[in-house]
């Protein structure tokens, strides 16, 4: 589905150039469950941002393969802003460490938002999502009325409500205690598996990483599979 080829990304700090991604190659297929670990500042989030077409690499390609034309792909690094917006709207779900929900609307409205934007509202699917994440009791509450763990579960539901083929999660359990962290990470992986949504999760927790099928380690700009 997504093929990363020879991605390079560096940044300049006080006149010095630091290479953060150095010839990254990775293939993400439908339904894959991938975790990326690494030390703080290793470039994990940068990689995720590139996958979400939020940023552009210095060189390399990220090919989005059309299932009907497996040998041809759109290079998302060459997307215009409009194309990037469309890509994120339809093909990607994003979960962040925090600030995932809009305070002034209910849980249900938060969850439904991406689906309504894309027009892909399927009541049954949404219900299934809510049940899987055990948040159906909270649908009329405001985010401020939920605990941290509950909020992240709602965020997962929101990230999946428009049925994206790919879900990108950047440290989804970073702000949670260990109990909620276990619960949320478990739910994240199983829900994605259930929905056949590819998951790429950035984490610094080995315990969370072990839940995924593939574990990769990003160090010194290089990605190696554990």
């Amino acid at each position: 589905m997504l093929a990363l080829k020879n991605l390079k990304k560096s940044y300049t700090d006080a006149g010095e150039q630091h290479t953060i991604l150095n010839n990254i190659n990775l293939t993400i297929n439908a339904g894959d469950s991938i975790s990326i670990q690494g030390a703080s500042g290793s470039g994990k989030s940068t990689l995720l941002h590139l996958l979400a077409a939020l940023d552009k690499p210095d060189s390399g390609e990220i090919l989005l393969n059309n299932s009907q034309q497996p040998n041809q792909g759109n290079d998302i690094t060459q997307f215009t802003e409009k194309e990037a917006d469309a890509y994120r709207q339809f093909r990607v779900g994003l979960i962040f460490q925090k600030f995932n929900l809009i305070d002034c609307i209910t849980v249900m409205e938060n969850v439904m938002l991406p689906a309504k934007i894309t027009g892909k509202v399927q009541g049954e699917y949404i219900q299934e999502l809510l049940d899987a994440l055990d948040i159906h009791r909270h649908i009329n509450k405001l985010p401020s009325q939920l605990s941290g763990g509950e909020q992240q579960r709602v965020a997962i539901a929101r990230g999946l409500s428009h049925q994206p083929p790919l879900l990108l999660a950047d440290e989804p359990t970073g702000n949670l205690d260990s109990k909620n962290s276990d619960l949320v990470s478990h739910l994240l992986v199983t829900t994605c598996k259930k929905l056949n949504t590819a998951l790429v999760m950035v984490t610094h927790s080995q315990k969370v990483a072990l839940l995924t099928q593939q574990q990769w380690y990003l160090d010194d700009g290089r990605l190696t599979q554990i």
Binding site: D55, F90, I102, D103, L113, S144
Partner: protein, 827 residues
């Protein structure tokens, strides 16, 4: 810093203009010399004050009189006019002035030695200088005195290369100009009266000043000496002056306060932004162990220093600004209040202390609100949403406030007559509107949300965010509400006034042409053989209940009966017959409201020609917009041409006949081009004058809108960081930057739209109060309120446009930031 400088500059400019206006105006009361106790002026515009009156009184022993003559003229150089505004040339009888006790007193020689032994250094130099000047006016080469700034303005027009002289229109050289710094000199040139008449033979003797106190006996004797055409007025009476004074001072104070409040507003927002931008730094300081109190003190010190610097720069800028604006302001104030405004004396240090003081108080006070907020932020107190109980409590408080303000306003409006009370009532009405708006924002927004279809999820989201915003931008929303209410109110008032005036003029100006000619020749005489039908308006000025009022003639033919516009009239079908027979009169609103009379009341008035007091019934009250005088209309036949003045003639006739009259007028030395006006032209001129008068209103309306929009924009900037995560989230869902910006704009405009909806009824109410209460109390006339829906819609559009333009700036700026930056910043 810039906003502080603007505030200081604006404030100092206004203070400078204020002080010079006040100096001139207050010195009005002293006239030319200290201790002017009375003035003698003409009662009749037909029999004016003359030189013979003056000399006759002096010969009778009234030696304390000083004659004053005036004329407004342009100044010329080489036959070219160099002045924009006509200068007020004033001639005083210096020969009388120099012998008045308040000017000089002969002191015996023996005493002079002591006086020189202990010189009064404080006064001698200034008084010597003035003495010399007066002697110059009296005896030496013709001299005229003017303020140095006016001389500078005049000299700018002279080409230094050629030797040129200031002259009159006819080339007569003006007297030698001597500059004299005095706060009370403005657009004036003062000279001896003989010199004034030599240069301008058409100058008019405007008044005789009585210098020094009069004993009772002297006053009685003087009153007896006065012929019928003259009246003695105490200088402290100020029958017109009290109204003028309070109005003028109110305006000056209002302008100064307005400037101060606007600046305060700007400063509040500026400080808010300042503190907001440094929040991170301040938080780090807290983490390093610096206490909140220390941080506040540091911030306050910074504000004080900034204010000091800004005041310094601002004062200098403000003085220059005042000098620049001075001619325009002078002209405006003089036209509005018939008050001479001088250049004033500016003490820079005094001004600086004033401006710095005010700005300091303002900026320190203005800092408290943002500091308070900062306090919360630094204390890391979470913004816990209000519990239901708390919400109910606040709601109740707001409703209570609404009731309170509305109730008090209602009581005042129905019972009070004092202008200041009515203004307070107006303020309370608007405050109650604010309360109503705040109380109903949630329900109103919820109501509007229902109309947004599901297929616009982002719009729905936006409207919900709008509701959340309404809680955080209360002040800005209220500011907008007030601006919108005032806009609607003022615009409706002006519109109604305009409509009423236009309609009234169109009906009253029923003739084909009008001529204005004071004195000889009598136009009716000129029109005798032309076939033009001429109606003259004969005018008397009489005294009624101690106040001067107009007694004018009105023709009673069918044509003119139709032309009359009544406010209220007697139900009597024989109204016009009774009027014709001299049994009844028509009065204007100013008379009816001012003296508290109604239709069918009986009043005593002098007969227009015999001056015998008789009783007359009030048959009707007529509209008379803008007339400061009470007026009574009586049939033309009751007047006598020899006893009354005639200035205005109404003409009816075919164009060919009018042309004949035109020729006769030319032959008689009357200029038809300037004095004969076609009714259509007259109407157009009048409405143009009307529109010009209200330009200042329109300007002020835009200013209030801008200030409100500015406030909103500042609120948005401050809230920017709060709403950044939400925007980031929405953008991450694939919504384009442009859409996000438009949605943000929509949020605020929705708030403004709701404010506008509430502002509409309050604006109408405001308009009604202004027309029916305030205008009535202030000027004793009123007109019907006309509500024009199109006008209201226009205001909606304008307000929303202004706000949209102003708030688009921070929104677009924020939107240009790449999403990745937001994500990195937040995560």
């Amino acid at each position: 810093m810039v906003s502080l400088i603007i505030a200081a500059a604006g404030l100092s400019a206004v203070l400078v203009i204020n002080s010079s206006a006040k100096q001139s105006y207050s010195s009005e009361q002293q006239f030319l010399v200290a201790n002017v106790t009375y003035t003698i002026t003409s009662t009749s515009s037909k029999l004016k004050l003359s030189k013979q009156d003056y000399s006759a009184l002096r010969v009778k022993g009234v030696n304390q009189l000083v004659a004053v003559a005036q004329t407004k003229q342009h100044v010329y150089v080489n036959k070219q006019r160099i002045t924009q505004r006509r200068i007020d040339f004033t001639g005083i009888d210096t020969f009388s002035l120099i012998t008045q006790p308040s000017f000089s007193n002969p002191v015996p020689l023996a005493e002079q030695q002591n006086a020189t032994a202990q010189p009064d250094t404080g006064t001698s130099k200034a008084s010597n200088e003035a003495n010399q000047l007066i002697r110059q006016l009296s005896f030496n080469e013709p001299t005229a005195i003017l303020h140095p700034q006016l001389l500078e303005i005049l000299e700018e027009s002279i080409n230094a290369n050629l030797s040129q002289q200031f002259t009159t229109q006819f080339g007569e050289p003006l007297a030698g100009l001597v500059a004299f710094e005095s706060a009370v000199l403005g657009n004036d040139i003062i000279m001896d009266i003989a010199e004034l008449y030599r240069l301008y033979p058409d100058a008019e003797l405007s008044m005789l000043l009585v210098v020094g106190d009069l004993t009772r006996a002297q006053e009685d004797a003087l009153r007896q000496f006065l012929p019928d055409n003259l009246k003695l007025t105490s200088a402290n009476d100020g029958e017109q002056d009290s109204e003028l004074t309070s109005s003028f001072h109110l305006n000056l104070m209002a302008m100064a306060l307005l400037m101060f409040v606007v600046c305060l507003f700007i400063v509040v927002n500026a400080v808010n932004l300042l503190l907001n931008s440094r929040l991170t730094w301040l938080k780090i300081c807290r983490q390093l162990g610096i206490s909140r109190q220390q941080l506040f003190v540091v911030q306050l010190i910074e504000i004080v220093l900034l204010t000091l610097l800004a005041s310094f720069i601002g004062v200098l800028l403000g003085i220059e600004l005042a000098k620049l604006a001075s001619p325009t302001v002078q002209a405006t104030l003089e036209n509005l209040y018939s008050v001479e405004v001088g250049f004033g004396e500016v003490s820079i240090i005094g001004l600086f202390i004033q401006v710095f003081g005010i700005c300091l108080i303002g900026s320190v006070c203005a800092t408290f609100i943002p500091l308070n907020k900062l306090n919360h932020q630094l204390a890391q107190t979470k913004d816990v949403p209000l519990s239901l109980t708390q919400q109910r409590f606040w709601n109740g408080a707001i409703w209570l406030s609404f009731g309170l303000f509305a109730g008090i306003a209602y009581i005042i409006l129905n019972n009070a007559q004092a202008l200041w009370l009515l203004l307070i009532a107006t303020a309370l009405v608007i405050l109650s509107g604010c309360c109503l708006l705040l109380a109903n924002y949630p329900s109103m927004l919820a109501f509007i949300q229902r109309f947004i279809p599901d297929r616009f999820p982002l719009l729905q989201l936006s409207s919900k965010q709008s509701l959340a915003l309404s809680g955080k931008t209360k002040i800005a929303c209220c500011a907008f509400f007030i601006a919108a209410t005032s806009n609607i109110g003022m615009n409706l008032m002006v519109d109604s006034f305009r409509g009423a005036t236009a309609g009234w003029l169109e009906q009253r100006l029923a003739a084909d042409y009008y001529v204005y000619n004071s004195g000889e020749p009598n136009i009716a005489e000129l029109a005798k053989n032309t076939g033009v039908n001429v109606s003259q308006r004969l005018e008397n000025y009489i005294s009624f209940q101690g106040k001067e009022m107009q007694q004018f003639s009105y023709p009673t033919d069918e044509f003119n009966q139709q032309a009359m516009v009544f406010y209220e009239q007697s139900e009597n079908k024989n109204l016009w017959r009774q009027f014709e027979q001299g049994k009844g009169v028509l009065v204007n609103q100013q008379f009816a409201f001012g003296f508290k009379y109604q239709v069918n009341d009986v009043i005593e008035l002098p007969h227009p020609s015999t001056s015998e007091l008789s009783s007359y019934k009030i048959l009707g009250i007529v509209y008379d917009f803008g007339n400061p005088y009470a007026q009574v209309l009586m049939p033309f036949d009751m007047f006598e041409l020899s006893k009354s003045k005639c200035c205005i003639y109404a003409l009816q006739g075919a164009e060919s006949k009018i042309d004949l009259l035109r020729e006769n007028m030319l032959a008689a030395g009357v200029n038809p081009d300037t004095q004969l006006l076609k009714t259509e032209d007259l109407l157009a001129l009048s409405m143009q004058a009307f529109d010009n008068t209200f330009i200042i209103t329109d300007g002020l309306n835009v200013v209030t809108l801008l200030v409100a929009a500015l406030s909103l924009a500042c609120a948005i900037i401050v809230l920017m960081n709060d709403i950044r995560p939400q925007n980031m989230l929405i953008r991450s869902m694939g919504v384009s930057a442009l859409k996000t910006q438009l949605l943000a704009l929509f949020q605020y405009l929705l708030l403004c739209f709701v404010a506008l909806i509430f502002a509409t009824p309050f604006g109408i109410l405001l308009s009604w109060i202004l027309i029916v209460d305030i205008n009535y109390q202030a000027f004793s006339w009123t007109y019907p309120l006309i509500i024009n829906p199109l006008k209201i819609l226009q205001i909606y559009a304008t307000s929303l446009l202004v706000v949209a333009i102003v708030i688009a700036i921070p929104i677009v700026r924020a939107g240009k930031r790449p999403l990745i930056e937001d994500i990195r910043w937040l995560n």
